[in-house]
């Protein structure tokens, strides 16, 4: 793909389609692999928008079912949270 036709897939970390395709073609076939190598999904939104696109790309290239690729572990904080939130002992569940 020429640079002109490239797309940004992960907007937080500005990772392009061609970068992601290259890594999948090198044999990295999980969302974690792609994230760790390209930083796609490592930014502020933590992959909320790009991970589905990346999962679809992996699925198309490998034939792995989409549901299998999208099985990832989630951890708190579910959304970004200021650090001072944790000063209060009662703030335990909503993160």
């Amino acid at each position: 793909m020429s640079e002109k036709e490239d797309y940004i897939v992960c907007r937080c970390e500005e990772v392009t389609l061609s970068e992601i395709e290259r890594v999948i073609d090198q044999g990295y076939h999980t969302l974690d692999d792609v994230k760790r190598i390209t930083r796609a999904g490592m930014g502020l939104c933590q992959g909320r928008s790009c991970s589905k696109v990346i999962a679809r790309l992996i699925s198309q290239k490998t034939g792995k079912p989409l549901e299998e690729i999208l099985q990832v572990k989630y951890r708190f904080p579910v959304r970004t949270e200021q650090m001072k939130t944790l000063e209060k002992q009662e703030n335990t569940d909503e993160l």
Partner: protein
Amino acid sequence: MSSSYDVVVIGGGIIGLSSGYYLTKRGKRVVVVDRGNFANGASGSCDDMILFQSKQPGINLELAFESLELYKSLVSELDDTLGFHSLGGMVLIENQKELEVMEDFVKQQQAYGLDVVILDQKETRKKQPFLSERFIASTYSPTDSQAYPFSVMYRLAQKGRDMGMEVVHNAPVVGIEKQGNGNFIVSTAQNLHFEAPVVVNAAGAWAKEVASLVEAHVPIEPKRGQVVITEKVPAVGEANLWTARYLVSKLKSGITLESTEEELRLGLGFAFTRTEGDSYLIGSTRENVGFDTRTTMDGIRAVVNQATSIVPVMKEVNMIRVMAGLRPATPDGKMLLGEHDGIEGFYTAAGHEGDGISLAPITGKLLSEMIVDQKVEKRLSELSPNRF
């Protein structure tokens, strides 16, 4: 059926990949076998430090210097910046007692050739204008550096593959059998078999289990370290930060820390580093919880509250992710590097605890020299796996 190699490396973290890379470079046919995905263990859930100031003069400091030089050459060898830079580091000093110990320690390090100085309160604040006023001094070294672990591992794997190295993921090793011909057969859970005269155990926190497959004694225990990652923010200071607290208690057994029971259980220490992606990595706990890699609310709370008490402006900063990794700890704080007595061809390269990123290049290079040249430098005897 098994495939034949010169060396099977068990563990595809930064130590295993570095070992595989340097062995491949020396002409060996190598397969790296890993139990999980890419960077699934401690190397993928740690910070990015190549830290000198924490090290006592001796083998660890000596190897850190050599590793730093190797990182500089890897930047061109691996065609990547590797996130390598020298931001420098500061160890924060809270009281007179700590200052005395650190002054003595800095003198020893200087004598050893490390570029490190003591800064008074004014000089400290000049470099760290947002620092809590309770710190009376700091040490500063411009040599403390960083490398981005994911880039290092990815490029070691890719360059190694270009030269013929194989990397197999999601293949937990369940058996190692010594054959009549002297070769080992390494078997994985899904019945893959790899045959080679040399096996390298680079399994990090899992190295003890791997060693037990050949009845070798490897006293490595996992210590869980929890780390917090912030959003991208402008730099709050010039260098990365640590505190003297734990260093001092390690150096002077007479000095006991005023710690709460929870702090002791969590093994709380402070590390604050600015990453490749302009965010901060804040650590860390050091917990004895076996192989549990979950993050916990009390652990993260302790890490965060410690950080905001030291750099109060961080209270307003968002955290975006937390993670936990198992640091492979040894009884004497030194790695195991070498061949096991009585098991010809079985090597261990593990037990770096918090120094895996720092020491990965030199570990791989020294291991490749042991295996290819069949020579062990005298100074490395204190890292021998047979010392326990």
